[in-house]
Symmetry: D2
Subunit: 342 residues, 4 copies
């Protein structure tokens, strides 16, 4: 860490900082500048908060040099992490496509959609059963009944299933039914939930919070990894900005940035990151061109009657077109789509 | 709701929308524009999601006219809600000041700080025992031990105590110890937690998420209110913007906007909304001048040795100066500080 | 336009709005809601500001239904605008690549870079001669001397040249030397400059302001188009958000959104939108996959000695790799790179 | 400056950086960390861009320690700058209130409003004659005719007048008519304009760009100051964020932050920073409580018929109430309103 002193910091304040550095078992290096002094604190500091130094009298600012995350970092684990799922893997050369409805609404809706997305080229099935809704007055998901339909859909299609977990209390139930737990954007910093998932051994899809920095996303993954659960996939799903033409702003930069910082697989959710079905295919292609390891896409057998997020859902027909287009782009960047289960 | 059709929408698509409006027991009104058609859907629509219409073929956009929240709205409850606490009340003419350390770190630290802030003019004591920390490697709070210290501090000072709850599992424990539950910014849309708190009858301080809109904050309060818990206080604590000179950007506009939209009390947390102790007093005064009903401020008996957020904590001496300054501003806007307990 | 009245609006206030609508030669349509009244104002309103109605007593909000821009809109001009330049065209099936240094620093630097980018596959040469720099104390560009080098580079390479114009006073000079005028992000709403350029007949590359909405970008283009200059190209160059891992956030959504709203060509500048040379190729590919009509990329023959923006400049070698990769993606989305001049 | 090397930087790359530091006449200090090396570059570096080092091979990041501005900084000029205007001064203990219409629309409108705001307590008159409008199709200001009305209003009321300058070509004309030139948010980084104003000796009100950082605002002022024009006043006018309940987000933090960094006077424009007349008074009071040296407020004798920004304009009656409220807050923070001219 670099500790930048105020121009007016006294000799005593500087010595006080040097003593604090020593107490943390770090080594101090002094740079006497023209206007101010900078002190480097050298040693393993990933478990030391910046505030330890920030609050010392005379300190103007503290800059962390090394990354505050460790298990997620590419420095710690240089090769890509590759997680096998049923019949395919995520994080390697193959690009996986997860598709399905925003919410599981009925047995029929789910099974129809599941068969349709499998036929169109999906590798896994998504479907929410506990729904985080802004309003308490609208449809909140089918709960355990929905989990049973997901299990049935897996049986019928052979595809692994993924659903969002919203609280610690749901974890135990959900791991019985689903292959991958999703942590939604609103819960990215629900640290109790992250710790509980860290204690399971089920793969996790961790979505970036709508105003979380890339570093905070990696720190959230560190909560899960440090619990011993190694199979974390990260997902860019759009961030909140001033632009109102789309529901969110797809941070496409995040894809190559994450791939450079971490060994974990990186997916893109172009349905949420745009919010409009007509822009999903363009942004899905962009994600794969930028280096994403997978896509998660909302598809509904009848979007006009969806109980949530219908505006951004694709019909199975449009999804099939998207898969073909994504396949061409994947090959252009020397990758390939994951094989479809049968 | 207003349903704006695409310029190219067909007659059939318009009729389809009219039928959907009828199915929702709303009444349709047609406006035939030069370029496009707009359809008004009149009736009680607060429990109908916009997506019901957004996904219909030919629909360009849907605008909600009436507010999506009800119990929180000033239309529903025109007078200010006033909640009595020990010896004072929040939401009326009195301005309450809640102060204390970011984290409860030890019995001694808490009791010293509690006595100091009471003497300086605080009405209630804050102190975190379960801490939401970005990194899993740093101090996470004392847990139940900290709650015991809070109870002891209340005993000794007579001040009500407030602490943050991070998960549904903690609610039962915490209501035994604290007078007010705080929901932190990162949990503002942790809907499981909001529902659980809605079922208690303990006052709640609900902090705005760092990228939550004012409407989303009101919708989050609606989750608690609709469970039957009427005593929700809202708290602006800074939003995330591009500006990096401060930790967050205090959305001072939010205070008069919230006061116009809701009957619930509105507080400001200038410690988090600025992130630097030297700016806290200026922004605290601004908050009261803008109409806030209270302040929540971090004070530490020894900020230089705080285990978290020391950079934004005031010493008891600086806090005492702040209280005097805030008192003068409160009187300038024809209010008064809440009386101090003895 | 839709005029939404306050719930408490009086009958007189509603009549006042109806009269105001009539004065603007629009026709009024009344929707009597349960809580409030909405009034549609039908007719050609693109030259009527929303504020005409917003400030009337009793009005809660005004929503514009039709687009506030006209000449730029796809409704007005359904087919793509295609602008021929030397040996290629922008806006059709071909994807154009503009490359060159951030600043023209010397004759040698420019000519070397120009030859290198042409060989690597660029279609046009960029190079700044008047530089908008945050600090008044750093290199501000070579001015007219730089324009002469650009002209010489065009002579030697056959490529059209593009440079940024910063003020009305420079327009006359620059049109003598360059083939395309660039309006930078900081000047996107320099309306005096836009009007001056609207009076020329030289093609323009209009960059999106760093916090401009897509609609504001289109309105800025409308200033130029309404002056009679039809050849406006739009350029996404990253927007300002809370994310600090990259210099800007590439709004990749803007590309399909703009292509749906306007007939004007849409380019992407991945150098500024990322700010780091190592992410430029990934985002360039994403832009083409998302539907961009061209790219503008910073290339420097010796980035380590560049006088500005070296951190985001590619070497000619890396640029040559990028062109090959972009070519593959272009073909995957059924387009092709523009032919290189000889 | 601190130059942070990549963990994998070679010995040769480090030596290369050391040589570059020497070439800039700075002195290098090496800190050998566990994972990476940091090099301090000590000396006067305010005229050296960070990019000089950022682009060197092996460099991960460069952090500037000293401020990139000099003439604007409080380190360079510790005491507040106080600028006398007609009968009052800005930057000292007095708080100045500038008021008037968004646009000068007619002689009668301006004179009526001018007399009304003087009577209500304004110290200076504002009024736009060249208007930066998003749309080319709406009212763009009266131009020189408007300047004549401003001069007449000054004659009649004794108040100094302020108007926005939009281009270099207007500077010469405007300095003949107005007492203070305003640079609008959209032109904050119109560097040609800033330089031209730097060469005049007329006071300037420099508004913060809607997505400009506090540092960029100070750098923009540095352009004017370095031209020799010392009388620059800064103005917070709201920044662009995700919040849509108000037109902009008032960055109230910016006021104490600016007061700590610079000696220049700092004003607040609550009309633009909120966008709704009903919130202007609350935020005006907040600004003064936070330490602002003045306010600039839109007042229109007949807001319902204003040609621009009527939604945020106050009537003279409401403005008079605001002045009284602001006076009370000013006194609560131990300041006073500037005396009114007679």
């Amino acid at each position: 860490m670099l500790i930048i002193m105020h121009p007016a910091a006294s000799k005593e304040q500087i010595e006080n900082v040097l003593a604090a550095i020593e107490r943390q078992n770090l080594t101090a290096h002094l740079i006497q500048g023209v206007e101010q002094t900078v002190i480097g604190a050298v040693g393993d500091s990933h478990s030391i908060g910046k505030e330890v130094f920030e609050i010392l009298p005379g300190v103007a600012a503290v800059t962390r040099i090394s990354q505050p995350y460790k298990l997620a970092s590419r420095q710690f684990h240089p090769k890509n992490s590759i997680f096998p799922l049923d019949g395919f893997s995520i994080g390697g050369e193959e690009i996986a496509i997860i598709a399905g409805p925003c919410s599981v609404e009925s047995r029929e809706q789910l099974l129809q959609t599941a068969l349709a997305v499998r036929q169109a080229g999906a590798n896994a099935l998504r479907g929410g059963v506990f729904k985080p809704r802004t309003s308490p007055y609208v449809f909140q998901g089918l709960g355990e009944e929905g989990l049973e339909y997901l299990a049935e859909a897996r049986e019928q299609t052979g595809m692994p299933v993924i659903a969002e977990v919203m609280s610690v209390a749901q974890v135990e139930l959900m791991v019985k039914y689903v292959d991958v737990l999703q942590v939604g954007a609103r819960n990215m910093q629900n640290f109790s939930l992250l710790r509980a998932i860290g204690e399971t051994r089920i793969p996790v899809l961790l979505k970036r919070g709508m105003s979380a920095t890339i570093e905070e996303l990696l720190m959230a993954s560190e909560y899960i990894l440090s619990g011993g659960n190694q199979r974390v996939m990260l997902c860019e799903r759009g961030i909140r900005t001033f632009e109102i033409a789309t529901r969110n702003t797809t941070d496409i930069n995040a894809i190559p940035v994450l791939k450079s910082l971490t060994h974990l697989p990186v997916l893109l959710d172009p349905s949420h990151s745009t919010g409009f079905s007509e822009f999903v295919a363009s942004v899905a292609k962009a994600g794969v061109a930028a280096g994403a390891d997978g896509l998660i896409i909302e598809v509904h057998n009848d979007p006009a009657n969806a109980l949530s997020d219908g505006r951004q859902s694709l019909t199975p027909e449009k999804f099939a077109v998207l898969v073909k287009q994504v396949k061409a782009v994947a090959e252009a960047v020397e990758r390939r789509l994951a094989p479809i289960v049968h």
